[in-house]
Chain length 172, copies 2
DNA sequence: TATTGTTATACTCTATAACTATA
DNA sequence: TATAGTTATAGAGTATAACAATA
């Protein structure tokens, strides 16, 4: 089962409506998991407008952020962190390198591994992308108080099978 | 850009870790959008265990819930509601029908449209699936208070470009 | 002319397996 | 033997366009 990277956009279609008037959603409205899915669809329609002009995709953007914050990280570790396989990571890095945004250097202590570093050009683009992404994300939480925004992120980080659901912490 | 139905599972890989120790996530930790993505990856790894034995997928399950709650809904409307294209909906309905879980009847007032109705067998399976899904969802929010659970769903429903972000309502 | 369901097609993303070079 | 990166391949899911039947 694929983890939906939200569905491919239907360019000429009307935007996704989370609650179509007159339709009863039954248990779906009771499921946190379905709320996540719904939110993701709505978000991705918008995300496209920011990513595409920059020749970026969500995994490409995430990778650049992580390489900047962890210079010299190796590909396999990066793949683990963003949750893709190693082969998929090769394609992501290939693209970023073809744009001149990063270099693959030989790892100092391990001849098998790649040492990933952003170029000046890559850092410049990333700076722009980060501003745009932060701006977009703030627009998504426009009506939220800062407390609500933090609460949402914290609850999302706790949601899920194993690492989440620790009764001790109470972010709300 | 595709809306990620979360990534295909790597069966022999370790489960997705949302915060790998020693890795700095930079702005990613500030983005509600990335928190959504992270949560979805974690969720889908688990979802698989419930869906597969029942010959279900998330869109199939959602479709059945919606057909039960809105008997006679037409395919195109169903597609709009769950956020897929009409061709994708055909495949979903085909499968549900092949399992004997629903019938396509001719719509009373419109000879073009299909009137979708669950069979007794479909209703029985759906009843089982709903119990399992609710149970799974509760496990994902195990450490949450009921207030936190509702808050998460409400905030997720407000997150996004257009319909969300209404300053008036304060669910937290 | 527009819409519903359908089919055919292409594209994207992903997993899996196998290869190489290092360890 | 095991691991990092790579390549090749197949599969799932989706969008797009075009078609028939009906409105």
């Amino acid at each position: 089962m694929r983890v939906p990277r939200p569905r491919q956009l239907r360019r000429n279609a009307s935007p996704f409506e989370r609650h179509v008037p007159g339709v009863r959603y039954g248990v779906l409205d009771e499921l946190a998991g379905y709320a996540v899915r719904r939110a993701q669809i709505a978000i991705y329609e918008d995300l496209d407008h920011v990513m595409t002009p920059l020749q970026l995709t969500p995994p490409r953007f995430s990778s650049m952020v992580l390489i900047e914050a962890n210079p010299g990280i190796r590909q396999s570790d990066l793949a683990t962190v963003i949750g893709v396989g190693r082969p998929a990571m090769v394609a992501i890095i290939d693209h970023l390198q073809s744009q001149g945004w990063l270099r693959r250097e030989v790892h100092a202590g391990d001849g098998r591994a790649n040492h990933l570093v952003l170029t000046r050009k890559g850092l410049a683009l990333l700076a722009r992308a980060k501003v745009m992404m932060l701006d977009l994300d703030r627009r998504w939480t426009q009506g939220f108080s800062e407390h609500e925004r933090r609460t949402l992120i914290t609850l999302l980080d706790r949601l899920g099978p194993s690492p989440a659901a620790k009764p001790g912490e109470d972010p709300a």
